[in-house]
Amino acid sequence: MKEVMGIIHHLKNEKKYEEITQGRCVAAIPYGGKYRLVDFPLSNMVNSGIVNIGVITSLNLRALVDHLGKGEEWGLDKKKGGLFFLPTAISESNRDKRRLDLEDIYVNLDYLHKSVEEYVLISGSDIVCNIDLSKVIAYHKEKKADITMVCKEGYKFSDKDIEQGVYLEKLTSGRVSAISLGVPQVGMVVSMDIYIMKKSLLFSLLQDCSIKGRWDLVSDVLLSNLKELKIFGYAYEGYVAIVNSLQSLYRHQMDLLKPEILQDLLFSKEMIHTKLKDGPPTRYCGGSNVKNSLIANGCQIEGSVENSILFRKVKIGRGAVIRNSILMPKVEIGEDVVLDKVILDKGVCVKKGTKLLSDSEEPIVIEKNKVIRGEVQVKC
């Protein structure tokens, strides 16, 4: 796979994730007990043998640069190829509305020119899956496609997210015959925001975009060139989560508590890599009661935890009851706290006696480092 370079593009509409993206870009959103979203596209690329990968960064880069470093954990700290941070294009026009902003790539043309690979694989940073991309590349060559998009049949967005989706109509040949933005039509499949094409084609598309001043890959390029370009859809069979809202961020993490999904995504032969952290094993104290939960190292649990995800170094006090919740690193839960359907961001501290319960589809979200004292909150 020395012939393919990877680009992880940057999602600009960070607001959709509400409090969770304060101070971090979408790619750096914590996910699944010890990962960040970027780990999935990055590991998929590396596991498929791609060794030259550019990650487009927003201004909120500290968490992401810290997390990825020189790419050691992905084996990218090598003399040839490696991991590169690419700046985003600052342009005021229309920026939140671009799904895949080619201008971000255009401002990094020198990096693309310097890279020796023939193909470029572009992936979004909000796609959680464990996919063998070498199969996509083989499909692309076999079909002699200009562009191959990866898609998923039968994927169900939650109601709110339907309009975020990109939908494809595929002929039996695999050729994409129609694309719909936000409005799925009967028989359409969902785009997974993964594209492969020759670098030379990308260069000419970028040239076009810069002339027209229209930069979105999906709406400005694919949609208007469905005839001219041979666009193919590769159907992926495995588990996929498209995490494009706070609600889906919650819902899809909860998917991981289903053993078959956990197996497919995290306990598969191809590992999703993430930054290695120090920390002792998790301690289950006397009186702890843990069921159906995904838990990272370094936690200390004295209470009850059920159907929940605990990131590193979470402390659960005696008598606390945590249900259906996601607790990010270094969260501290005091005695007798009750949580149900709650996302606590990094470093949140919930003092003794607090009760936070959501009965709604939406979880309660508490932002980073906040301290909650004895509050009772019920969301319906």
Binding site: R283, G287, S288, K291, N292, Q300
Partner: protein, 403 residues
């Protein structure tokens, strides 16, 4: 090369034969401990936490696992390199006139004279790589300087009935060491040497040379060098260490020290942030605890899939426990696969062991050890009685082991 005030020499060559199957393929300091560590992590972490950034690691017995584990040393912030010190593996080697194995602890240090001279230190800290403890060596060094000692030996109070197992110090009221006995039958004190020494390098140099030229010497610090120093009336100071310290040299003491980690005691608080015990982490997904299991008083590492009950036990990374199994008072090392309906009591299960469904691994009071890579067939009943006599006994009594 920058001059260093103090460098550490870590003796990591021991076979640890009393740990039997646990050291079949690796030296004692490389034995896994505490759900995520290896024994050497304690000494290495103590070094860097004490501000000592140059550590020579003396290896000799089956060093492959240990060497791979240490790697570049970066897990402990001890990156090896031409300029900075860091962690350097020091195996025995050949010179113009042939090679010499490390005969005793003192001989091992002597053979690496050049390594020490390279840093031209004022003090040399000599450590064993096979004890479990958290200690700030910089305080001991401070005390050493204040006392203007030639040699400091760290001591810990042990139970009087355990004292005959240790090197025992007798000190005057100023903590000057006036007598030292290796494993005395009738100990005069209960101050045991922890195997942690600080020497002024110029003095150590002199005594190493003397020791090596003495044909009758076993070239051991405890047996030869320290007694000679005492006899020649050096300023030798006992440094009192207060805190948790264990020699985990036998299967029993290894098991006990492991179980100590499960108690809510302060003396070995792995959760304190200021004094981390570092280890070389490996990539694993989070641990998953299934519905309908009971898990209490346990340490569990990343990558474990726990579908059975767990009490008062330690799971290393990447352990699988099948449905309906029950594990108690046990230690299960990385990569082990425990089938369904298995019962394990007071056992140590080695790396990558596979235990078939409905097996029972338990014995009356003894600790059962299943060595790494072994396979326990389904429905086996393993009630091993391990004695100190050796490993052969054991193998015979392990029914149902294949491969």
């Amino acid at each position: 090369m920058e001059r260093k005030e103090c460098i550490a020499m870590l003796l990591a060559g021991g076979q640890g034969s009393r740990l039997r199957r646990l050291t079949k393929n690796l030296a004692k300091p490389a034995v896994p401990f505490g759900g995520k560590y290896r024994i050497i992590d304690f000494s290495l972490s103590n070094c860097i936490n004490s501000g000592i950034d140059t550590v020579g690691i003396l290896t000799q017995y089956k060093p492959l696992v240990l060497n791979s584990y240490i790697g570049s040393g970066s897990a402990w912030d001890l990156q090896c390199g031409m300029e900075n010190g860091g962690a350097t593996i020091l195996p025995p080697y050949v010179r113009e006139n042939g090679g010499e194995w490390y005969k005793g602890t003192a001989h091992a240090i002597y053979q690496n004279f050049n390594f020490i001279e390279k840093y031209d230190p004022k003090y040399v800290l000599v450590l064993s790589g096979d004890h479990v403890y958290k200690m700030d060596y910089s305080r001991m060094l401070q005390n050493h300087k204040e006392k203007q000692a030639d040699v400091s030996i760290s001591v810990v109070e042990v139970e009087w009935d355990e004292a005959p197992r240790f090197g025992i110090m007798n000190t005057d009221k100023n903590d000057k060491i006036i007598d030292f006995e290796e494993k005395p039958q009738i100990p005069k004190s209960n101050l045991a040497s922890m195997g942690v020494y600080i020497f002024n390098w110029d003095i150590l140099k002199e005594y190493l040379k003397k020791d090596v030229s003495d044909a009758n010497s076993a070239n051991d610090f405890g047996k030869n060098v320290i007694p000679r120093m005492l006899k020649e009336d050096l300023e030798m100071c006992a440094y009192h260490f207060e805190g948790y310290w264990r020699d985990v040299g036998t299967v029993e003491s290894y098991w006990e020290a492991s179980m100590d980690m499960l108690e809510d005691t302060e003396f070995l608080n792995f959760f304190s942030s200021g004094w981390n015990i570092y280890s070389a982490s490996i990539a694993q997904p989070p641990q998953y605890i299934a519905p309908d299991v009971h898990i209490e008083r346990a340490l569990v590492s990343d990558g474990c899939l726990v579908n059975g009950d767990l009490e008062h036990s330690i799971l290393f990374p990447d352990v699988y426990i099948g449905k309906g199994s029950s594990i108690k008072d046990s230690i299960i090392m990385s990569g082990a696969r425990i089938g369904q309906g298995v019962v394990i009591r007071k056992a140590i299960i080695g790396e990558n062991v596979v235990v078939g469904n409905n097996s029972v691994i338990a014995s009356q009071d003894q600790i059962t050890v299943v060595g790494e890579e072994e396979k326990v067939l389904s429905n086996s009943q393993i009630g091993t009685v391990l004695r100190n006599e050796g490993i052969d006994d054991t193998t015979k009594t392990v029914a149902g082991l294949s491969g």
